[in-house]
């Protein structure tokens, strides 16, 4: 394991593209839903149960939770990976994507652990991937619906959308939606360096750079008191901009 860790550190440092070989034979309809979670023991059980009952393989990445998130998710039948310390949602997503690719997944879905996404929307994303011959299907609450969305959150998202449009050139209607699906080829083109919330913008930059086809799909986001309390605040936008700026300088 030591040699592997050192090799991966070298890869990370030099930013060499990483090629992952499946450890099990791939099947054409192997879908893995990656759920990053931090201190979500109140909700993760329901999320995993819903995903499992819809027939999806569920991979929960516990990002250093101090509660029983991992235990609850495991009890409900999810595969659980645990970070020793909390690194951020972007880091958890990349861990999940790495594991899903290694397990031979042909399609990878990212799904928030706070219960604001609907499991039924996954089918629409997968459908769009196959019908649209795209490598990325990106959920859009502005094409679909938002339930109980506060106006302040809407304003924040509009600013983020315009910033992302200007910086990436991608004309998306929703840039910070955690519900996405990607093919194996698409997932292999993604290498997140942003550990925290700036990963949402970074994914779009990398999609743009990969030149792989993408499609937007209407989805529904349900805001609850719980998800709003855990979600981003307005100052988070400043932190995201700072992270992106630092990433640009660090080259």
């Amino acid at each position: 394991m030591t040699a592997q860790v050192l090799a991966s550190l070298a890869v990370e440092r030099e930013m060499i593209p990483v090629f992952l070989e499946p450890s099990v034979p791939p099947s054409q309809d192997h879908v893995v839903v990656v759920v990053p979670a931090l201190n979500e023991d109140a909700n993760i059980g329901r999320v995993v149960r819903d995903l499992r009952s819809a027939g999806y393989e569920c991979l929960v990445v516990d990002d250093g939770s101090s509660d029983g998130t991992a235990a609850v998710a495991r009890r409900e039948g999810a595969t659980v990976l645990s970070h020793l310390i909390s690194l951020g949602q972007g880091a958890a997503l990349q861990t999940g994507i790495d594991r899903a690719l290694a397990s031979g997944a042909q399609t990878i879905v990212t799904f928030d652990g706070d219960g604001q996404h609907r499991v039924a929307d996954i089918e629409r994303l997968l459908d769009a991937l196959h019908r649209g011959a795209a490598d990325f299907a990106l959920g859009s609450r502005f094409l679909g619906a938002s339930v109980n969305q506060p106006s302040s959150r809407r304003l924040l998202l509009v600013v983020a959308i315009w910033f992302t449009r200007l910086s990436t050139g991608l004309h998306l209607t929703d840039t910070h939606n955690g519900l996405r699906a990607m093919t194996r080829r698409g997932a292999s083109a993604i290498r997140l360096r942003q550990n925290r919330m700036a990963h949402a913008s970074e994914i779009l930059h990398q999609i743009r750079r990969s030149r792989l086809p993408w499609v937007e799909v209407p989805v529904t986001i349900e805001y609850t008191e719980y998800s709003l309390a855990k979600g981003q605040r307005s100052v988070g936008l400043v932190a995201i901009l700072a992270d992106l700026l630092m990433d640009a300088l660090d080259r």
């Binding site: 890869v11 020793l84 880091a91 594991r99 630092m246």
Partner: protein, 156 residues
Amino acid sequence: MIGQIAFTAPLLVVAVYGLLETRHSRVVGSLMALAAIATLALVWAPAAADGVAAAIRLGSRDDLILYALVGIAFLIILNLHLKDRRQTQLLTTLIREIALSGGGPGDGSRRPEPMIVRRRARGRARSSIPAAHWARTTEVGSHAAVGHGEPLSRRG
């Protein structure tokens, strides 16, 4: 003259350091080197420094040099922050590999204890590694040896 010499050595160090740092961050490293060299020029050419200070309405050359030093300090801090980010990236890779190898805080219900704590007692080293950690380490190691529990394989 003494002041000029006193400024020269640290500014030269910053200039060389900036040039070396261009390996990691072209923008910040170059700016550091340029700012240090420009400040050196201001220190050694007082007449020119007076002209520049007057042109940009900064009062005297002393003020100009002070502002330049503040700017260099800012760039050094920015560079340290970027170094910290690089360390965080390495830590991320390490934590990720541990997670992918099946290591982690178990049921996630509590923070992990430090993996290895050594202390000296009565003149000789004594290990206080918790037995559970030994067991886990052994388990992961033996899995790796027979080719299981290694979800990743990489090629360059």
